[in-house]
């Protein structure tokens, strides 16, 4: 673990000899994050998947451009009784028995249509925007809340710790999906404060909250160890306030832990969002998300498997790429990682 702000004596204490050798080979003055970047830049697998994730993000951000300039339809526009030319032949977008067309590989309905005659490619990109937006906001909520709660609980201990940890235990006692569905369904109707029930921020809030214990508890554990260290005592002796000690002494020492959690929580949040949306407790229709698109397609699997395959593959690629990239970040931030650093 990086120990920014600590002394050389602390660095060497209990550190394996091989790491000391590696540290001795490092250029003078290199910081832990620069070191981590160097390690990451040599992990080609992680970088490859990081680029893939970046491409997905860029594609999803360009959804309005694709929608207006290429597909010429919005994500919620129904074209049930319209006809398009496929191979010179006019075909209904949705047949009389409700079967949608498959991929046309043309600008319109490139990946086919759903039972409401909506362009799947357009919905896939908009759905990706929604999934990523929910995942990102949820991750932010989780990380911020978990950091505040974890640091406060670990630093103050006593009744503060007891109160906060029991509160987290209550959340932890429920399986994530059950809690997510319960909160999602109830809040989808009433909303939260100024947020309407169909706002994307509602599932983001739900997901953000249910994951807090999974991050706050490890942070608290780390803070419990840090608060006994000499540099914290030194800060106290200097008369620093509790808030300042937590912000300037403790937080920098757990920052790398938080950074490691970010991709992990992002992947989990996207997955949970897909699951909740599949169950009707996440992104509310007609807004697309990869989860709602899969749910919409399930009944048509025998004859229109593209309805679940397309969003399913996107979901797998997105989550896989975040996870592999996240593993790379974790390895890079791990001082015990055996990654050779060239001078």
């Amino acid at each position: 673990m990086a120990v920014g702000g600590s002394t050389g004596t602390e660095l060497s204490a209990g550190v394996p000899a091989e790491l000391l050798v590696e540290a001795a080979e490092l250029p003078a003055g290199i910081g832990p994050y620069r070191l981590a970047w160097r390690r990451l830049s040599r992990n080609h697998g992680a970088l490859f998947f990081g680029v893939i994730f970046l491409v997905i993000v860029v594609l999803c951000l360009l959804a309005p451009v694709y929608s207006s300039d290429i597909a010429h339809t919005g994500p919620n526009d129904n074209h049930i009784t319209e006809q398009i030319k496929i191979g010179g032949k006019l075909t209904y977008v949705v047949s009389t028995i409700g079967l949608p067309i498959g991929p046309t590989w043309h600008s319109k309905f490139f990946l086919g249509a759903d039972p409401n005659g909506r362009d799947i490619a357009v919905r896939l990109l908009y759905g990706g925007r929604n999934s990523l937006e929910v995942g990102a906001v949820a991750t932010l909520i989780t990380i911020v809340l978990a950091a505040i709660i974890g640091i406060a609980a670990g630093y103050f201990r006593g009744w503060t710790d007891g109160l906060l940890m029991r509160a987290l235990d209550v959340i932890w006692a429920f399986p994530v999906y059950i809690l997510g569905v319960a909160l999602g369904v109830s809040l989808a109707i009433s909303g939260i404060g100024p947020l309407r029930g169909n706002s994307l921020m509602v599932p983001a809030f739900v997901i953000g909250v249910v994951f807090v214990p999974y991050v706050a508890k490890p942070i608290r554990g780390q803070v419990l160890g840090l608060r006994e260290r000499e540099f914290i005592d030194a800060a106290r002796v200097q008369g620093l306030s509790h808030v300042r000690i937590m912000a300037s002494e403790i937080f920098p020492n757990i920052a790398s832990t938080i950074i490691v959690f970010i991709p992990l929580m992002l992947a989990n949040s996207i997955l949970l969002e897909a699951g909740l949306s599949y169950l009707g407790a996440g992104v509310q229709p007609p807004n697309p998300s990869w989860g709602t698109m899969i749910a919409d397609g399930v009944a048509n699997i025998p004859a229109a498997i593209h309805l679940v395959l397309v969003p399913g593959i996107m979901l797998v690629i997105a989550v896989l790429s975040i996870n592999v990239f996240g593993d790379g970040v974790r390895d890079a931030l791990d001082p015990r990682a055996k990654v050779r650093i060239a001078r």
Partner: protein, 559 residues
């Protein structure tokens, strides 16, 4: 009311649905009254996408429950076990004959049959009829607010606790006579007496919903096991006393499996591992071509008296404006909605369905329902109404294709100039939610399947002003039109117009339904047809589908 709800958590139901009952066992007890032909044994499995709301005869309101209860609880009157319209003909059930109606239409008298026994072996007493009525009021039976409490003298006092019995009903155990005094003449009271809520129950039956352990009945079958939301099993009633017109049943055991995965259910019937696909479920369009090619001899479309529509609340903007409502009706693409329903819809515009007396043969006032809608005119009407840009919340259910209907409708409302957003809620809570007047829901999905073949069933509950109630309201559009109120009241309470002679009032109902359409009160988009789809083990020649409660289980027969 006959709604077709589907449970909320599809995945949860899918998970539990893998619990498979031992479906191959057969009871050694075979009714002596079983028909001589066909296999009077074996087990038949029916699949349901939606669980019955409750199996208690005094508490249910859905078709799934009505179908399950139909062979278990026989009311004083029932319907002929015949396919099609003929199956809506009232016949005596536990009563010996059709009721004698007093000259003022307010007193009904009939006699119970002798020698009846419950499935426990207990004898049926005529006074048990009163027990069932009181229980229906106390639980309460959701439809009792329309078909019981306001109709029978003393029912309101019993409901409120002012009296300890329903004074308007007298029974005589010795003679079997039942006399019912009505508060006012009600032409469809015979049909009301055909609800399972009027089936006798033993005295001492707990005054609470016994869904997981339903009370004993008098019918040819009885419940042998119930796993809520997963399955239930009916077996032959060893104490069944044959009643003319009611078949004694063929299969020794009927197993109902509940799974929200209708694709898997349809496939299982196609592969003959299950026997009957519930008519109230929609066959996924992706399977229809396969079914039509591989099993055309065991698949057909059934006609129902069901109207599907979007309600438009007259008490809230923007649908307080008739021009705004007209815009919706003019622009609605009904063929598109029919496609969303896998082609099981006949586009239409009138509130009364085609098989109902009074359904207008005339053309629709706002254009051909088979057209794809006039969007340009609809936009113009929205502009003229001054409601352009008005926010609209569209309410809908999760189950397919209802959610898809609402997806389309929301998109359409945005297209013609409103600012619409969707609110999709769980099937189980949908109708209670939009039926709560405090919510004042603006618009949303609605459907209605007949309780009995009389237009008053539709008008009395869905369009009459006095049907607007604070909770459980079914008049979601909050229509309170004096013309409809007086005409429905007049036609509905005519005691000389019971179901059998409704034809004489047909033209008056037609005129009223044309008036309703012209006022653009409801955005009717079509009439449901249902799939009849069975395995190759089932003898379809014996199968009876009644367009009120669905299949008669006692006509399920193995080849």
């Amino acid at each position: 009311m006959r709604k077709h709800p589907r449970s909320a958590l599809t995945l949860a139901l899918a998970a539990v649905s893998v619990i498979v009952l031992a479906a191959c066992g057969s009871s050694s007890k075979s009714s002596s009254s079983s028909p001589a032909t066909g296999k009077a044994s074996g087990s038949i499995t029916i699949t349901y996408g939606t669980a019955p709301d409750t199996l208690d005869p005094d508490a249910f309101q859905t078709t799934q429950a009505g179908e399950a209860d139909q062979p278990v609880y026989i009311p004083p009157y029932t319907y002929a076990e015949t396919n099609g319209i003929a199956g809506t003909q009232i016949i005596p059930g536990l009563a010996t004959a059709l009721p004698q109606i007093s000259a003022d239409g307010k007193t009904y008298t009939f006699f119970f049959r002798k020698g009846l026994r419950y499935s426990t072996g207990q004898p049926v007493h005529t006074s048990d009829f009163l027990t069932a009525v009181e229980r229906s009021i106390k639980i309460p039976w959701p439809l009792g607010s329309a078909f019981l409490v306001p109709l029978i003298v003393g029912a309101k006092d019993y409901e409120s606790g002012k009296s300890n019995t329903v004074s308007g009903i007298t029974t005589n155990d010795a003679t079997g006579q039942v006399t019912i005094h009505l508060t006012a003449p009600y032409g469809a009271f015979e049909n009301a007496l055909a609800f399972q809520a009027y089936s006798p129950l033993p005295k001492g039956t707990p005054m609470k919903d016994l869904s997981s352990n339903p009370p004993p009945g008098v019918g040819p079958y009885k419940f042998s096991s119930v796993v809520p939301n997963v399955s239930y099993t009916e077996v032959k009633n060893p104490y069944w006393t044959p009643i003319p017109g009611i078949q004694s049943g063929y299969a020794n055991q009927i197993v109902a499996k509940i799974s929200s995965n209708t694709t898997a259910s349809a496939l299982s019937v196609l592969n003959n591992s299950n026997d009957v696909f519930d008519w109230a479920d929609t066959i996924p369009p992706s399977l229809l071509p396969q079914i039509q090619s591989q099993a055309s001899d065991r698949y057909q479309k059934l006609k129902l008296n069901s109207t599907y529509y979007f309600f438009m609340n007259q008490k809230a903007k923007p649908f307080s404006s008739m021009l705004a409502r007209e815009a919706v009706i003019v622009g609605l693409n009904r063929p598109a909605l029919a496609r969303l329903g896998s082609g099981f819809f006949t586009p239409g515009c009138f509130f009364l369905p085609p098989l109902m007396v009074g359904h207008p043969p005339s053309s629709c006032p706002f254009g051909d329902p088979n057209s794809t809608g006039d969007i340009a005119k609809a936009k113009m009407l929205v502009q003229q109404s001054g409601m352009a840009g008005q926010p609209v919340t569209v309410w809908g259910e999760e189950r397919s294709p209802r959610r898809q209907f609402v997806d389309y409708y929301t998109s359409f409302l945005n297209q013609i100039g409103f600012k619409a957003t969707e609110k999709i809620i769980a099937d189980a809570t949908y109708f209670p939610t939009v039926g709560n007047l405090k919510l004042n829901a603006q618009t949303g999905f609605d459907d209605y399947n007949q309780d009995f073949p009389n237009p008053i069933d539709f008008y009395g509950l869905l369009l009459a002003g006095d049907a607007i109630t604070p909770t459980g309201n079914l008049n979601h559009s909050q229509v309170n039109d004096p013309v409809i109120n007086s005409k429905a009241n007049q036609l509905g309470t005519l005691f000389k117009l019971p179901t059998s002679s409704l034809g004489s009032a047909s033209s008056q109902w037609t005129t009223l339904d044309e008036y309703t359409a012209a006022k653009a009160y409801e955005a009717v988009f079509g009439y449901l047809e249902a799939p009849e789809f069975v395995s190759n083990r089932i003898d379809q020649s014996a199968l009876v589908f009644q367009p009120i409660n669905g299949y008669w289980y006692n006509t399920f027969k193995l080849k």
